[in-house]
């Protein structure tokens, strides 16, 4: 067994930079400078020449680092939000799906299908979808499942193709993303990986579900946990 001792850390810290705060006698005027540090041969640290630090500089830096998200109230179905990522879930429901004419599923195109609860994630402008194992708002540790849809990879990445994807990742764009996903034609398998435990794969799954009311959970293939999935998308 691997022993993991988590009782705190002892780490080496070395002086790297210094902030110097200057003030007049009345403490009514201030100035802050950032200094590099040089370590002399006798190990005595010496401050290098300083540069000015202003609030404007700090704000600009924060903005450039991506904290420029507009203020908005988040609806209850939003799971996570960063300036570049929006994740939300939808409960299990019956929705129509459209399949490309001439495809193996063309015959059931436009019929109502039961869908599992889903997690949608827009990351860096790309839509991703995973199924949820339980019909409730997922927690950070909830296990996800592979979404059994055409035009969707084993990693959940949706092939946009000619899909009318909305711009931006504000919560107001959620209905537009869902519409774009469900109202575009599903035309082809998105990946070679197995997307369902249903015998025969995705085609017999959706053929058997046309007009049905409940998505069979046991056909889902378990995937990673929610937080791992989101972190994975963020780091891509």
């Amino acid at each position: 067994m691997r022993l993991d001792v988590d009782l705190g850390d002892v780490i080496e810290l070395k002086l790297d930079r210094a902030l110097l705060v200057y003030a007049n006698q009345q403490r009514s005027r201030h100035m802050v400078t950032v200094h590099t540090v040089q370590h002399a041969e006798n190990h005595l640290p010496v401050l290098g020449t300083g540069t000015l630090l202003s609030m404007e500089t700090l704000r600009e830096l924060a903005k450039q680092l991506g904290s420029g998200t507009l203020l908005e109230c988040l609806p209850e179905n939003v799971i996570a939000r960063t300036p570049e990522t929006l994740a939300w879930w939808t409960p299990a429901e019956v929705r129509p799906m459209f399949f490309g004419a001439g495809s193996e599923l063309g015959g059931v195109s436009g019929k109502p299908f039961p869908h599992p609860p889903l997690l949608f994630v827009v990351a860096k402008g790309i839509l991703h979808v995973r199924a949820l194992c339980e019909n409730r708002r997922p927690a950070a540790t909830s296990r996800l499942a592979v979404a059994p849809y055409w035009n969707t990879g084993g990693d959940g990445k949706v092939c946009h193709g000619t899909m009318r994807a909305p711009n931006g990742v504000s919560s107001a764009s959620i209905p537009q993303w869902e519409t774009a996903f469900f109202q575009s034609e599903f035309t082809h398998p998105g990946d070679t990986v197995k997307l369902t435990r249903r015998k025969g794969g995705v085609v017999p799954l959706w053929q058997s579900l046309a007009g049905a009311r409940r998505f069979p959970r046991r056909t889902l293939i378990a995937a990673e946990g929610l937080i791992d999935y989101l972190k994975g998308l963020e780091s891509k």
Binding site: M1, E12, L15, V21, T33, N42, L47, R143
Partner: protein
Amino acid sequence: MPGLATGQQHSRSCAQPCGDREPALPRPRCLAPGSQLAATPRLDKDHGGTRIGFGGAQAVHLAQSLVSLGIADRNDWEQAGKDPLRMTKTVLERLLEEHGNAVVAAHYELELRLGQSLFDYGGYRANGIDPTLLFFSLSPYSSFPVCMGKIVDELETVHPGLGMAAYRTLQNALYRWVRVYDESDARQYIDMSMESIEEGEEEQCEIPKLDPDLPACLRARKSSWRQSRQPKLSAYPLPGEPRMRHFVELVRQIHRASHSGSRPDNAALLDELRHTYSLAVALPVVVLHFRDGDAISACFDFEAEFWGQETPEPNLVLSFHPDRPEEVKACLKVLAVVTRILALIVGLSDLLRPKEN
């Protein structure tokens, strides 16, 4: 550290006492031009860097207890660079090693965590739990399979009842310390699957059939072992055939090892943890099945796909006060027992594995 440190320790105190803080800085208004910033103040050597510990007080207590128990000594302290965390980890690893952890580590994916909280939730601790406690928790990342069908059948042909007695003895020896996935879990999964099937879905669902995969002696008896009057393993003579004999001896050894320590009574603590955290059932450390690809393996695979939705309960939780050597000693004794049992299980599994030509 008292008893070991040869130099003098210095406490680190806050430079600015609380309640005597400076007012927040007003926004800078008049800034000097950069060309005038030529000052290069000199700093003391101590400002150049230092070694700083974060939250290591309990590690110091534990290290002191290890010393007072005679488990760690000055040499460990010196070799760890006088770092109580490093010394504690090194000494605990050595202790586990002495009880067969090299074999365990090579065959199991197990994590033994020692921390101030039971889970790595950023230091979050449940209310009502003594903040001075430390916890050992044992959790698997995968399960170790032991295939027993052939040997159970063979033992039954030597002495009717011996195969089942050996199987049940092993099962119960493991139950005392870790979660085991076996035929009772498979049966429960199958029953639940059958109940949830809707009319017309039968063909879509692959539900394994358990009974044909069980050894005949287990198939015949569905009542629990305790209810039946099954003689104990020790009541049977040892088989003459060397492999069977070795197997029975190993099971007896595992039984003795299992009963050489007392499982900690921390029901109240576990209730508190279950109340605070949303915990799933513990993941099995060992899977007892009867042949490759049998119904137990299949049920395990089906269930395993959905494990991990919620944090599972650890297989073993040991809580102790690091500054009370007797409590530390009791925990280490338990860890030794569990390590020993898991190492013996590896030997047993090797014995059961078909030999390659």
